[in-house]
């Protein structure tokens, strides 16, 4: 069949120009919306990850037109850490090494709410890109709400374990003996859902960039874990796959917040078991020059 005949017979090919046009417009629109240049979009833009979502549009007028999201504060002397531990780094390491992820909690005793508040205050001392403090900590102790969270998570986790997670992933989790049943979500006296604010708002309601928000909020989670351990509480860092949107809706979170982690908080149940893993040795994680 000669090309012309082939061309005339196919609906797709006879409309080639419209299809090409629509495709090009779609790609261009997508790039415009995401502020990504076309070449980067077509060939992937994950190579310098840190750069890609930050270093956008540098040609947007004069610097003087832009108001800093932070107040222009005075700079004051700082003499360094004065509140430390008597046993220093050794004491801190022993405390950190005593922490383990717990998947079985007892409902009682309920830790004092003030303790949870102090731990979150400590987490809020984390550094953040341009001091944006892009975190929200939702503390749930209401039984009905914990139950609804568990329903959402278990429904998704059943699909995760059955379909979404790769065979390799499920095999990698086997030594942890996890499955889609998450009784810790109703057993633990508290759940802390940590949200990252992917952007914020200035006082005048303008959108405010939150630089490196995921790294900043994860660092805050690291500090939260240490604070909980210092208070004698146990926890578990979970990242329930595909539950973010439903949990945001349930808790009425604003559109700029995305769930980063969900942590049950409390004391281990009396028959709590943990996998007897060893941590990597210093020589396997440090490289000295």
């Amino acid at each position: 069949m000669p090309t012309n005949e082939f061309f005339e017979k196919s609906i797709f090919l006879s409309n080639w120009f419209s299809i090409l046009l629509v495709t090009c417009v779609a790609v261009l629109l997508r790039c415009l919306l995401a502020k990504v240049d076309v070449a980067k979009y077509l060939w992937g833009h994950h190579h310098e990850e840190i750069a890609c979502d930050l270093a956008n549009n540098s040609k947007e007028g004069h610097c003087e037109e832009y108001i800093s999201a932070l107040p222009e504060v005075e700079h004051v002397p700082y003499i360094g850490a004065t509140i430390t531990l008597p046993g220093g780094s050794r004491q801190f390491y022993e405390m950190a090494n005593n922490r383990r992820s717990v998947r079985a909690f007892k409902p009682h005793p309920i830790p004092a709410f003030e303790v949870i508040e102090n731990c979150i205050l400590a987490a809020g001392c984390a550094p953040s890109g341009a001091h944006t403090e892009p975190w929200t900590f939702c503390v749930i102790s209401n039984k009905d709400l914990k139950h609804r969270i568990r329903c959402i998570v278990e429904r998704e986790e059943e699909i995760n374990y059955g379909q979404r997670m790769s065979k390799q992933w499920r095999s990698d989790l086997r030594p942890l003996k996890t499955n889609h049943i998450k009784s810790y979500l109703t057993d633990a006296p508290y759940l802390i859902l940590v949200f990252k604010q992917v952007y914020g708002f200035t006082k005048s309601g303008k959108r405010k960039q939150h630089y490196y928000n995921e790294i900043s909020v994860s660092i805050a989670v690291g500090i939260l874990l240490c604070a909980l351990q210092a208070a004698g509480l146990s926890s578990l860092v979970t990242t329930p796959l595909n539950c973010g949107a439903a949990l945001c809706r349930l808790l009425n979170r604003p559109i700029n917040e995305k769930l980063l982690v969900l942590m049950p908080i409390g004391y281990p149940s009396d028959n709590c078991l943990i996998p007897n893993f060893k941590r990597k040795e210093l020589k396997d994680i440090v490289f000295v020059k």
Copy 2:
């Protein structure tokens, strides 16, 4: 000009079929390589971020064929945190709140290397996706190497401040009084470069998935910050834009490692100034139900 004439006159249009074919093949190849489905690729795949880089290929054979990257260890009883702080969460919060980001360090005294080791050991106690421990901490005290790192960072930062960073970003940083000169990189007695291992290797040399590696390593950085504070040391979490590749080359890091953060470690200089920021209040970061 009738369509046919227009069609014959343009090189692009007369080769429409080849161009369409090449474009389709390119898009398909890209999707295959990134294991993303075509629709997701064309319309963006950042919506359920946690899901997208993890929940790939679930139809890859039987679970039994896959060996867990972790050993199948016994499960042992855990009674919860036994090494805590006498002052609990309040003492921990006061310590965390005493920490500030420092941009001016003094070269002496040099903290004992053992202290740095303990702090990194503590960071290595962070939880991680499927216990993959996807971190490498490079500790640099060699003067020549610190100087070379400073050269790389300052060269890129000059371009960052001049071209890559948006005007808004530079305005947002103005209250911090930063610029491309990074004297702390040679003044601080130690630099710790924290790398995330985006994947790992099994004993047999097979590629091993590192689930949620960026969140895991950032949590470890949070613990590292607390350990340094406990030891009386100051630091600064920096994410030098576009320097990752050059620093990986300089330090001969394997291809599975990407720079997450670069931290100068030591004591503040005698004339160290910090911006007099207030942290957000509890009511602005907590939401209770």
